[in-house]
Symmetry: C2
Subunit: 121 residues, 2 copies
Amino acid sequence: MRIAEASEACGLSAYTIRFYEKSGMLPKIERGPDGHRRFTPRLIEWLTLLYWLRETGMSLKQMRRFTTLAKAGDTGIAERRKILADHADTLKAKRAKLEKCEEVLAIKIASYGPDTKEDDP
Amino acid sequence: MRIAEASEACGLSAYTIRFYEKSGMLPKIERGPDGHRRFTPRLIEWLTLLYWLRETGMSLKQMRRFTTLAKAGDTGIAERRKILADHADTLKAKRAKLEKCEEVLAIKIASYGPDTKEDDP
DNA sequence: GTAGCGGGTTAGAGTTACTCTAAGTCAATG
DNA sequence: CATTGACTTAGAGTAACTCTAACCCGCTAC
């Protein structure tokens, strides 16, 4: 699979995939005789997971750590699980924040009401 | 009110408040005779709204537009309401994405299960 | 056979939104 | 009167992309 298809499949742009590789957040990617990257289904799965992690705000540093552990094999599973569990917790907090903001917006929008005049700021 | 208190009250760091002022996203801030900014309750309210907007991912450009409209007074209310309503929509989408990611994480975590061995990446 | 197209490759510059540092001012306190 | 602590500024540094420039390679069309 070539990079355009991989990008399509995982949700990350080709730029980002190359950037992640440079930044050491991907396992070794094999190259064809023409020097082009060859994406396996397994790699696509990995990229897709990274897509979700970054899309929900995980730092590159954390993602790098996560990949390092995965490359190391079974020994890192406990820490990998912890990283994901911690991230799930921050997602819950983020969701709460979004809900809170939706409330704030609803109130603010209502204050501009159908015929109300506001005087911000 | 001085900047440290303002920061405390609105949730934005003092750095960020100064940066927002430089970037034209705040109404004119009065200065004391010592050259220090003086934060009124009205300004704090404004900063707090901006805090919520940026915390939930609104771009500076959009926030700048919003402030500009607010400075212009009543004429901009319709567009301001639209900006907030649109933002509320994107928040709903974001929330859905978070939920989806929480699912993905739950599945991945389960795959590392209490005694399962995985072989990523 | 070579001109051009559509993919890929790299290094490195540009962007966004902060975040921090350096160097300085001023008011109050020991 | 020196130090402390809070503020001021300009500008450097950072994270995470995002894009540009310059290039290579294989293919079809003339």
